[in-house]
């Protein structure tokens, strides 16, 4: 357990997250309007989205399918009957004056999510529920000195609200939860998980308590839009609450905002000022009834998810939990790895993918999807190592060239003449020359300075421009020096 050290002892922070994930879908939850990000303001608005008189919502079956798929991906209960409710409040970017959401009977019930922690261990966190709801529009306050502009493009877009149990115990765990959730959503193709575009947003419920004690009063931090900020906001909020409590104060249940410039949370409204949303079943929509056979169909078509993939990678490729985590967290990375590893030394493939490739991508600020080195080419490079055409060291040089130019490894080896020397005669004469030129060092070696062996290897490789087969160099050097 990670505790926070206060003035008066240890504190445990208790966190539950509510994630709003925008569903990948061409049309909105209850209207046929499009959902493309970055379109001109108010260009994707139907009369339903703008709440014109007499307009009625009609559920988009694909959005329901996406929610069910996500529920299944979270190993959750799928509720075959769920109900849409109206959440009533007034705001200029909420045209109906209510949001259609699911209150008492969500489409997805209890599920779980496995956290992959940095030390390679894992822990299961409970999912309370997932429900469908529509997004509001956007208020734009900075275009006019006295007026607010409203963009309704987002109004009515389908969201999944995914609520966790208060099972998280540190900002790091919250970060791990969000990364894992995002990974699952992306595997499923149900949400793109882009927090910076707002397609995944997070509300954090934070409280503190003495280790193992009664749960404290929680505060909710609304609409945090990056994993980094979620962690920072939780850390700040936990310390703020501890400070209040240690000074003899009490925590007031309230909604707080994360100030992204001052990096603090500040009060938005207290429980007393909280909206009374007057939830009631939306009379425009019938209860949502799902056919169990349809749910089964979606279940059967589920892709392999990160947890299963990780287990398979560990079993089939003998990877460590750490390597497996790194590889499965994005499906594209896992696919890339598998393409390289298949039929080859998996451990070596993992090292090359997580080491050289990810390092180079990171440095270049590129994603795996636009890697200049294809999985097939990286595999071909490993094959050149495997059949002794080049050494591992030369291979790194070849890889750099591949990454820079996109050329094929075989072509680079041929063009640059990097094929390693396996002709024992040639290596022997190179070694003879090295030993002759360093007679003093040979003496030192023979009188017990074993460490100099590496020096001779280095000199030999230098003399052969690195092309000598390292195993042969070792073998011949050993014979000559000890002989």
């Amino acid at each position: 357990m990670t505790y926070i050290q206060g003035e008066t002892g240890n504190w445990e922070v208790v966190i539950g997250l509510e994630v709003h994930a925008q569903i990948i879908s061409k049309a909105k939850l209850f209207s046929g309007a499009a959902t493309d990000f970055g379109s001109d303001p108010n260009s994707q608005v139907s009369f339903v989205d703008a709440a014109f008189p007499g307009m009625l919502p009609v559920i988009n079956a694909f959005c329901v399918e996406q929610a069910v798929r996500t529920g299944l991906g979270l190993k959750a209960e799928i509720n075959l009957v769920s109900v849409f409710d109206r959440k009533n409040y007034f705001y200029a970017d909420l045209p109906q004056g209510y949001q259609i959401s699911q209150f008492q009977q969500p489409v997805v019930g209890r599920g779980q999510l496995v956290l992959d922690l940095p030390d390679g261990s894992s822990r299961t966190v409970g999912i309370t529920r997932l429900h469908l709801e529509q997004d509001a529009g956007k208020s734009i306050h900075d275009q006019h000195p006295t007026k607010t502009f409203i963009d309704l493009n987002r109004s009515g877009v389908a969201l999944m609200e995914i609520v966790s149990e208060p099972d998280l115990r540190s900002a790091e765990e919250a970060g791990a939860y969000l990364r894992k959730l995002r990974s699952i959503l992306r595997y499923l193709g149900t949400c793109d998980g882009n927090m910076e575009e707002g397609s995944m947003r997070c509300d954090c419920n934070v409280s503190v308590r003495r280790p193992g004690g009664e749960l404290g009063t929680r505060c909710e931090i609304k609409n945090v839009n990056s994993i980094r900020f979620v962690q920072a906001a939780i850390d700040f909020e936990a310390r703020r609450q501890i400070e209040v409590l240690e000074e003899g104060g009490t925590i007031v249940q309230e909604t707080r905002l994360w100030d992204t410039t001052r990096l603090v949370t500040r009060s938005m409204r207290s429980k007393e000022e909280a909206h009374d949303y007057r939830y009631f079943p939306d009379p425009d929509l019938l209860p949502l009834e799902l056919d169990p056979a349809w749910v089964e169909e979606i279940r059967r078509a589920l892709p392999e998810l990160p947890d299963e993939k990780k287990a398979r990678f560990m079993a089939d490729f003998k990877l460590s939990a750490y390597d497996a985590n790194v590889l499965v967290n994005e499906k594209a990375k896992a696919d890339y790895f598998e393409a390289v590893a298949n039929g080859r030394d998996a451990k070596m493939a993992a090292n090359w993918v997580t080491g050289e490739l990810f390092g180079a991508l990171n440095k270049a600020g590129r994603e795996i999807e636009d890697s200049p080195v294809s999985a097939a080419d990286l595999g071909a490079l490993l094959d050149l190592i495997g059949d002794n055409t080049i050494s591992g060291r030369i291979a790194k040089e070849v890889f750099e060239e591949m990454f820079a130019t996109g050329a094929k490894p075989g072509d680079i080896v041929e063009k640059k003449g990097l094929r390693q020397v396996t002709d024992t005669g040639a290596i022997e004469s190179a070694i003879d020359a090295v030993l002759a030129a360093n007679a003093d060092k040979v003496e030192e070696f023979r009188s017990g300075k074993d460490k100099l062996f590496g020096f001779f290897v280095g000199q030999t490789m230098k003399a052969t421009q690195g092309k000598a087969n390292p195993a042969l160099v070792n073998e011949i050097l050993t014979r000559k020096l000890k002989g």
């Binding site: 009369f47 703008a50 709440a51 014109f52 008189p53 007499g54 307009m55 009625l56 919502p57 009609v58 559920i59 109206r86 009533n88 007034f90 705001y91 200029a92 045209p95 109906q96 004056g97 209510y98 607010t148 409203i150 009374d276 007057r278 939830y279 009631f280 009379p283 425009d284 929509l285 019938l286």
Partner: protein
Amino acid sequence: MSALTRMTMAEALKGLAAREFTAVELTEAHVRAVEAARPLNAFITETPDKALEMARASDARRARGEAGPMDGLPIAVKDLFCTRDVLTTAASHILDGFHPQYESSVTTNLWRDGAVMLGKVNLDEFAMGSANITSYYGDVVNPWSPGDAGAWERRLVPGGSSGGSAAAVAARCALGATGTDTGGSIRQPAAFAGIVGIKPTYGRCSRWGIVAFASSLDQAGPMTRTVRDSAIMLRSMAGFDPKDSTSVDMPVPDFEAALTGDVRGLRVGIPREYRVDGMPAEIEAMWQRGVEWLKAAGAEPVEISLPHTKYALPAYYIVAPAEASSNLARYDGVRYGLRVEGGNLKEMYENTRGAGFGKEVRRRILIGTYVLSAGYYDAYYLKAQKVRTRIKQDFDAAFTRCDVILTPTAPSGAFAIGEKMDDPIQMYLNDVFTVPVNLAGLPGMSLPAGLGADGLPLGLQLIGRPFDEETLFRVGGVLEEAAQFTATPPFMA
């Protein structure tokens, strides 16, 4: 006065088919009638040019042999239906200047079948009322007035909320009109104006494009001068609409074919709980007459019990305002209709909604907001929903013993403008026989059964099983035949 405005829809269709007159002639006569009927304040918007254009198109279709089932029939549209490019107000100030860019599904169906629009008729604001006295566009006056026929006085309410529809049809300025019925808004004004009105089963007509009052109760229906005309008009209005999730995917029967005149062996339920205290003797007598007529036609009256009837009105006045409070939240001055500026957003809301909504609408928004709020939801809204289930069960049980239910439409005839105004409860009591039908989602029809002692029409209500409007038309036809209601209001255009 023109003979063309005295016809029924069925007669007009025959005349048009026989080329005795054209749709343009029929429409011109009605356009003149609409003008002549202005003292009733039945219309909010008259659309004579549109009417004539539609009539010309109708004549052209008929000439090509492509006439639809309602081709050339001039009708009025309750101003709760959105009509493309035609001012749509819901009789509220808050929809000032609102010209929808879309057409409601029900009116789309009517125009598809050839009907001609004379204009948009008045109603209670957002359909909230039983007397058509809450309209921003003024009270509608009933073309009937007490006393000897021929001497019309501006005295009586037409009922509500479809008061403009009822007045327009009764005064012979339209062959029929669309209405909507949330708690009796078609049937009660039909009864007060001596015409026929049917609220079909919930889900029979699409609600798409109708300004919502209480979504789980609202249902559109026709208001006409005969049962047959209602059958003709409902057939055009009804039908599954994928744009309304509560519309039901069932074929629309040929309702006219149900008018067989044969009710032999049919069991007619008479609910004992509808004998309410203080009901005028003439209502009771008319109800009894209805029973006798059906018996004479070979039907079999059976006494039934609807034990939860007394809870219907309180449950209705929780459910309907609750839904309304949410449905009317969209009228906020941001996107369309009235906007009264303020220093900030909240002030703009308050100013706009304060000025835009009338007193009755504000009352219901307050009630609805209250019954949904934290701490009161269970005691009011949830309880009301449970009552609603009980009421449905009452009807289910009753329909194992009978095929149709006969009741009075309202506990009184039309009352005077100004009466019951200071006591909303008295006003709400008007809906006591109609509201249970909405709560249960059943079809209900009102038809004129005779005149009361003061010479005012009284209505009988028929209640049917879900989606069994055909039985209502069949029984309605027999009652209509027996009642021989030929009285006309003192005011006719």
